[in-house]
Symmetry: C2
């Protein structure tokens, strides 16, 4: 009998936002796996640090940051190989995932490699989407409103087209695209209602009007444009 | 000193998907509040049932189901009044919310009524969005894909416009709109890649190709159209 691969969402960063199911799986894990970026620390591991048993074996996937996809894909190939050896030996593997595994998560790369050979279970997590809304005290959607989530790196023309049609609009992966995104939103008349959130639920969190946000935003930052609660009274 | 109103997301239904922060708040609550629909049971209360202290006071808001908004708004008026009395007496109130309080959640109606008078804190929860994706084993979004969330009750013309532009597409609040939505997706050539999920994470859960879904879908049902993991290998 082979083991099961668990893709476990940890939420946006505050360890209190880990679900009870995720916590139980990590506390009882004999093998945990996680990505780390560019030789630095692993954010996923840091979120779950208090839960990882000292006896657990840890499989670390060091994913290089580059626009060329091949080096990152090679890191997932190597990680999938190491994970598959544990699964073949009948061990379950708990893969730690920031946010939710299937919402812009790197777990998909392992899922694509291993789903046909092993049982895989996914434990959903709190996404940065609703975590940022909670921290900004900004209701996202009610009734029949449409929600659009746009990655900041998209080309201007695509962004303009979606921005023109959106009710509630979320811009993810803002980072170094902030000035460009702010200009697009200003053109669309949306700057006064845009909120910027950086590192939601962490100690270094910041919530600001987008007009006051720094041009050098970190990767974990988001812009929210929502009507707020009062229109729904 | 007035108390604090906590809007606490409970996730999609499986009590294991309650976060540790939410569980701690409920276990220590002296006053809990929750909506119930049309005189029936409260789904929110059922999710958290094991955590509610027997000594806690319970404020129940019985929200009638009707297309006319006035009766529901009157129920929230009455609930907000009862909650505000507890807050004025210095008691914290923990409001139980299915899913996430700010993602198509009725907590917004309380938030709109009470935010200017009392401190309000929101604890985000796992949304049905990623819970359905996890149960359907269907990654939602990767890289620079756009996610669009559409409520099923929208008019056909609006739905067609958004469907034509979407990468990953989620249709919420499917219920009695299922046959109409299926026809629209068929016209757009998307039926073969559409997945239907009903009562995700609950005992009565069903995951089916949309082509095999029943016309009499329950309110808690969703249609997902996503490319899956393999294109991201």
């Amino acid at each position: 009998m082979s083991g099961t691969l668990f893709g476990v969402g940890l939420g946006p960063g505050d360890p209190g936002l880990i679900t009870r199911r995720a916590a139980a799986l990590i506390e009882n894990a004999s093998v945990v796996a996680y990505p780390s970026l560019a030789g630095g620390d692993s954010f996923a591991r840091a979120i779950a640090a208090d839960l990882i048993p000292p006896t657990a074996r840890e499989i670390r996937m060091d994913v290089p940051m580059s626009r060329d996809r091949a080096p990152a894909q090679a890191a997932y190939d190597a990680g999938a190989e190491e994970i598959s050896e544990a699964l073949e030996n009948g061990q379950d593997v708990v893969c730690l995932c920031e946010g939710d595994p299937f919402f812009y998560g790197s777990f998909m790369y392992l899922f694509a490699r291993l789903r046909s050979r092993f049982p895989v279970k996914v434990v959903p997590g709190v996404t940065s989407l609703t975590a940022c809304a909670a921290r900004a005290a900004l209701p996202l959607t009610a009734r029949n409103e449409v929600l659009t989530v746009l990655p900041g790196p998209l080309p201007d023309a695509d962004l303009r087209d979606h921005i023109a049609r959106a009710d509630t609009l979320i811009l993810m992966k803002v980072g170094r695209h902030l000035a460009r995104l702010r200009a697009l939103l200003t053109d669309a008349g949306l700057l006064p209602m845009a909120t910027y959130v950086e590192r939601a639920t962490l100690g270094a969190e910041r919530v600001l009007p987008l007009s006051e946000a720094p041009d050098d935003a970190p990767y974990f930052s988001m812009i929210l444009i929502a009507k707020g609660a009062d229109p729904w009274l």
